[in-house]
Amino acid sequence: MSTPETPPTGGDDPGRGLSGVQRAGVVLGGLAVLLIVFVVLRGNDDNGSPSSSSAQQTTAASSGADPTTSDPSTGSTSTSTSTSTPTASTGSTSTATTPEPAVQTVRVVNGQPAGGIKTISYTKGDQVRLKVVSDTADEIHVHGYDLMKDVTAGGSVEFDFEATIEGRFEVELENAGTQIAMLEVDPS
């Protein structure tokens, strides 16, 4: 430890010291401000559109519930849904899977994803329907969910599973070690 120079003179310096009550007041005031900001910001929750940096994002319309996930960029704040609001329900309990969820297709050309690595977004509880059309024979591996299916050259495979794990997961040509898509599952 360094040698302390002379301790601060006039450490108690009554002019600028605050009383205990004043200190508590400052702390409480700070807490109040934070609480208000938290509530306000959380109100216009825009985490449906995960990123603006995209230009390479396809966003899968999820199972009828959440049409705001149309495109990033727009300031479409309000989640104006027609069916049951997905906020509180923790996933699959709502049996409102009326329309067939759209199938997202990833094309593999010359062993590479056509159009670069796309992010395919879902909300937890959605049904993921992912089709891979490949001109290369390999094994398709959806990480995290750990699903694997073989694809023949010129053939296609389809995955159909419920999005139960939140996060970002690589979809990969397992043997070639090439990432072909990013699966993103957002909290419901």
Binding site: G11, D13, R16, S51, E174
Partner: protein, 475 residues
């Protein structure tokens, strides 16, 4: 750590092995989960918290130093036989991990070695150190080995061993800084980062370097200054409320241990390296860096055009990014110090930079928590299966070989809150330490307070950088 990007490379390496053991390499489902970026509203809220906390702290913090003068209370002492026992355990663990690296499968996710090195050792020990104190020191394998050899040699020579050379004071913690930078380079830049046998070779090289250093300069001086991992873990342990010294354990005020950091050369550089490398780990996963219009593809293309192979070009690009990030962090800190030196006169920048650098320790730890908490929570679970099948040969020693990672152990929202809480608490701790030190450095409370406007700017910059890297804006 790029989620043990073992995915990309490991899979490439493993592709051969996969053909042979289709399940062993994949059954654990180790790989490929990244955290979701912090949503914008939470980012904005956290930034607001940081500002409010800062100004409340300025108003409320004590006018007399407290942490600097905190006393320790002795709790209990540790029996003597534990010391060699812990050392033996450390040596055995080290030897086994290296052995697994050479003898086990070279599929990174099926071999216990990469997970032990990158998750348990590199991330787990800092977490443990910050809570329990310096838990690494008794198990430090190369130190234990050196002490064992010294003990035997002392017996044989009958106490006539040559005195070690004096450790050069100008060298300070620079060797530790170089070691941490090198480890980060291997982890974040090097293409073969997941190759178990190569990692084993690097581990042996590191241990050999330490043994040479300890034999030349003495075990204690070298371990406290130059052994990169010992120094790194020891820095985090200064945050802990427990202090292990010789064989006694004392209790102390949380954070107060950092005030006893000896300010030898290289300490500031080491701390900036710690923060900078962690920042680069997050930054290098973001769109700004890796995206189709990002910096990395562009730079890589240019280097490839200069005649480098694609792999080398990628490594050069990432090396530049890593070094830039470390320098960037250093520049933020030095800018704050430069501002502070304008107050009260009398203190030059070098002195201030050293005397306030202990306030970066909680920031560095906050970065580690924010970036690696989920790695520990998820990949740490892989240890359950790996201990039963450490070499990836299909054995099942403890009957847990088929355990899989439960990715729902904590939700994405939970991870966000941990990340934000870590950064905000680290910020508050850094501010508190800097405030306390300022009361010692400056004679007048007024000067101390004014100097802290600069430290406040530095801390806000670091915390917002940390938040931004994790947020949707960067990812």
């Amino acid at each position: 750590m790029r989620r043990l990007r073992i995915a990309a490379l490991g899979a490439a390496l493993a592709s051969a092995a996969v053909a042979v053991l289709p399940d062993a390499a994949l059954a654990h489902g180790l790989v490929g989960k990244q955290d979701l970026p912090i949503p914008r509203w939470l980012f904005a809220w956290a930034a607001a918290v940081v500002l409010v906390v800062s100004f409340v702290a300025l108003a409320v913090l004590w006018p007399k130093p407290r942490l600097e003068t905190a006393r320790e209370t002795r709790l209990f002492s540790v029996p003597a036989f534990l010391e060699p026992l812990c050392g033996l355990i450390g040596i055995a663990a080290f030897a086994f991990v290296v052995y697994a690296g050479y003898a086990g499968t070279q599929a990174a996710t099926a071999n216990i070695e990469p997970t032990v090195i990158y998750v348990i050792f590199w991330v787990g020990i800092p977490f443990a150190s910050a809570v329990l104190g310096d838990v690494f020191a008794p198990f430090n394998p190369w130190r234990a080995l050196a002490r064992g050899v010294a003990w035997i040699a002392g017996r044989v020579a009958g106490g006539r061993l040559p005195e070690p050379m004096a450790y050069p004071s100008w060298l300070g913690r620079w060797p530790a800084m170089a070691g941490i930078l090198a480890f980060a380079w291997v982890e974040l830049v090097y293409n073969n980062r997941d190759d178990p046998s190569l990692l084993a070779t690097l581990a042996l090289l590191y241990a050999a370097t330490q043994l040479i250093g300890m034999s030349v300069y003495g075990i204690k001086p070298w371990t406290h200054r130059a052994d990169a991992f010992a120094v790194y873990f020891n820095l985090f342990s200064k945050l802990a409320p427990l202090h292990w010294r010789e064989r006694t354990v004392s209790r102390r005020l949380i954070l107060s241990g950092t005030t006893h950091l000896d300010l030898m050369p290289g300490t500031v550089a080491l701390l900036c390296t710690m923060i900078g490398t962690t920042s680069f780990d997050g930054f290098s996963q973001g769109q700004l860096w890796t995206g189709t219009n990002g910096i990395a593809p562009e730079l890589t293309r240019r280097f490839a055009n200069l005649g480098f192979s694609q792999e080398t070009a990628l490594e050069i690009t990432f090396t530049i990014g890593l070094v830039f990030m470390v320098c960037f962090v250093g520049a933020i800190y030095r800018a704050g110090i430069a501002g502070m030196s304008s107050i009260g006169g009398r203190h030059d920048q070098g002195e201030l930079a050293r005397r306030f650098c202990h306030s970066l320790i909680p920031i560095a730890f906050a970065y580690v928590v924010a970036h690696y908490f989920s790695l520990l929570a998820y990949q740490g679970q892989a240890m359950a299966s790996l201990v039963s099948d450490p070499l990836g040969t299909g054995s099942d020693i403890f009957g847990t070989a088929s355990t899989i990672i439960d990715y729902n152990v904590i939700s994405a929202t939970g991870i966000w809150y941990v990340q934000v809480a870590a950064l905000v608490l680290g910020h508050a701790a850094g501010l508190t330490l800097a405030h306390d030190r300022a009361l010692v450095v400056y004679r007048r409370v007024r000067d101390a307070t004014r100097s802290q406007y600069w430290m406040l700017a530095v801390m806000v910059a670091f915390t917002c950088l940390g938040l931004w890297i994790l947020s949707a804006s960067a990812q």
